[in-house]
Amino acid sequence: MLIADLDEHAALLDRLEALEAYDIMDSPSEPEFDGIVQIATALCKAPVALISLVDAERQWFKARVGFSPSETPLSQSVCRHALASSDLLIIPDLKDDPRTRDNTLVTGEPFIRFYAGAPLITPDNITIGSLCVIDSVPRPHGLDNEQREGLRALAGQVIALFEARRLSQRKDDLFRRQKSLTSHMRAAANETLAAQEAGGVGTFEVDIETGQAKTSPAFCRIFHLPVAPIYPSSLFEGMVVESDRGLQSSDLGRREATDSLDVEYRINTDVGIRWISRTASFVHDESGRPIKMIGAVKDVTVIKRAAARVQALLDLGDRLNHLTDTESMAMAAADLMAKALDATRAGFGIVNLADETVMMQPEWTAPGVVSLSGRHHFRDYGSFINDLRLGNPVVIPDVTQDPRTRDNAQALLDLDIRVLVNVPIMDQGRFNLVVFAHHTHPYAWSTEELAFLRSFGDRIQAAIARVHAEAEQMVLQRELGHRLKNTLAMVQAIASQTLRPVKERNHVDAFERRLHALSTAHEILLERNWSSAPVSNVVEKTLDRLSVRERIDIVGDPIMLGPKGTLSLSLVLHELATNAIKYGSLSNTTGRVAINWHVEGEGDLSSFNFSWQESGGPQVAEPQANGFGSKLIRMGLAGTGGVNVRYEPSGFVAQMHASLPQLQQADI
């Protein structure tokens, strides 16, 4: 065996061991993982996304979108190439890559062409597979930065879910057994009570007539109540958080046996909000009337929060992309953070570093929690501002214990703050905003949650940096536009001085007018930072400047042109209009011009069609000499387009067409 083979063999053994520990191969589909592949397809705009796990002779898909087989032999696996890499593997065209060009999924149905996969790496640093997206067309540019980051983050979440799944697997086993209990339920439940407590599964039995619930000790612990054999079931129903009300069972629902049997809801407990998954069944008497509701509960907080964090990170990306001011970004972030952490209060404040105060903005609070909006001094609540100043997020799981806040704990407790999370937002190098989340009860922070907070802060930071960069870009472009116009003014001055002796003033005038046409086109482009201009704007402004707007009928689709198209269209229009003023339908007082434009075709093949039709003017004939204006008109709108010029009895007609994508190109 070669050294490389030995290494590969060792990696395979590690991988098989890790897969075994997760007990994941050939398990049924689970919504958490299905959600991740759904997000991956949306994120990368790819038709196929897979969570692929690679064992000794096959790759098996834990979740899949857009791909029907649940597994393939290794010979068809692209993912196995991703195992060797610690970062994304991107293959822009599978047909070109020596590793994949002979793969039968590439050469035959379904003819896949593009692959991007993020390795799934366990905490022990073993790569067990990949989260990948696949497209049926090649992508020379691969994925953009956001997509790469998103795919990496999602791969991280897959592993986090595998880990959480492994921990709760034992509970699940007990839970499944619990669900299948029927008439033997009571006896069986008695036998397994001890086991359930260890596994965190609690059982209950509600007498529908009296509304009294018999509760197992584990049940009481899950609900964080003193262990007691009987509780009124209304007590549990009252613990359900307001927004989840209606999911839990009720007197009426039990009597009519209409309550849902499998539900998830949140409850308020002494240790904060917990997620409960409850499953139940009804016991009927001989006449078929429901007499008892028997069921089991378990605490699913860890899993629910992991999923909520993934969602919050993805939502954050979405929402930040649409916002342009730092304060709405901070608010959006606080809102999502509150959801992901089940906070009782979340929002942001504007920091004044000079006097170490923060102006809290109106924030989101759970019902019954007071608002903090207004000015606060950081030092009244402890010394954690020292960390914030350095740009470090502050997470205090219990304000009465943490050295930074324990001497000021009462001030915080008075505001219902037991847990304090502050994420500083540095705006242009200064600590300007703080995003916060509070809990009324101590909260056990997992390392994933802390990583989540840090990544949350980083993303807000990146989005704010983007907004600043865009603002700077805009200022720069305005300044450049301004200088360009001054330069055109200088050209005008030089020309007017240089051409003073020229006797034929009409040539000099024509030159100046063309210069103005160019300047007008620049002005229109400047309105949108040199990115694009609406065709109707170009037409209106050019004709307006020549004072002939009211003699022209304009009909056209709303279309944007890029800088190149805008300059070209405005110069051609200028020549058409000046010709019409000199010789055509605008040379008398009654003639008119009809301008029409529209787009034909779609995508890369679409063409922009423009027509200029004069009527009511004097007879026109093709000019003998070909001036600059006529030449410009005959050259049309863009290199590859066509021009048709006709001198008809009714008047002059010019029709032009050009490739729309070319006219819309961003560069000039």
Binding site: H482, L484, K485, A489, M490, S496, Q497, R500, S519
Partner: protein, 127 residues
């Protein structure tokens, strides 16, 4: 050009720091039949305005070195010499109505000489 000259030549103060542009503006003003007085800065323009009582129109650029720019000059003219008409030109795309003194007009650079000439004539026709 004699035929364009009005009976008594109105005086236009042209304020522009860039020599080439000043030359062109002066030619424009004179070809339109006015007498042009040149100033290379807003400060110099103020000195001229204080000395000469016959200025009818101030034709000024905005971006100029010195203690004040064309906008401040225009505001001062409107304040201290209310009868004088004002034309402002600049390479900046647009000015809001609120930014400009009353009875002042704005042209974007590069400007159309014929339009400026027409504007000068309109302004003196209702003096």
């Amino acid at each position: 050009m004699g035929s364009l000259t009005p009976p008594s030549r109105h005086v236009v103060l042209v304020v522009e720091d860039e020599p080439l542009l000043l030359m062109m503006a002066t030619d424009l003003v004179e070809e339109a039949g006015f007498e042009a007085v040149e100033a290379r800065s807003a400060d110099q323009a103020v000195e001229i305005l204080q000395d000469r009582k016959d200025i009818r129109i101030v034709f000024t650029d905005i971006d100029m070195p010195g203690s004040m720019n064309g906008m401040r000059l225009a505001a001062m003219v409107r304040d201290r010499w209310p009868p004088i008409e004002i034309i402002i030109v600049s390479g900046h795309v647009k000015l809001g109505k609120d930014d400009m003194p009353s009875r002042s007009v704005f042209y974007s650079k590069p400007y159309d000489a014929a339009k400026i000439a027409a504007q000068l004539h309109r302004m003196v026709s209702h003096l």
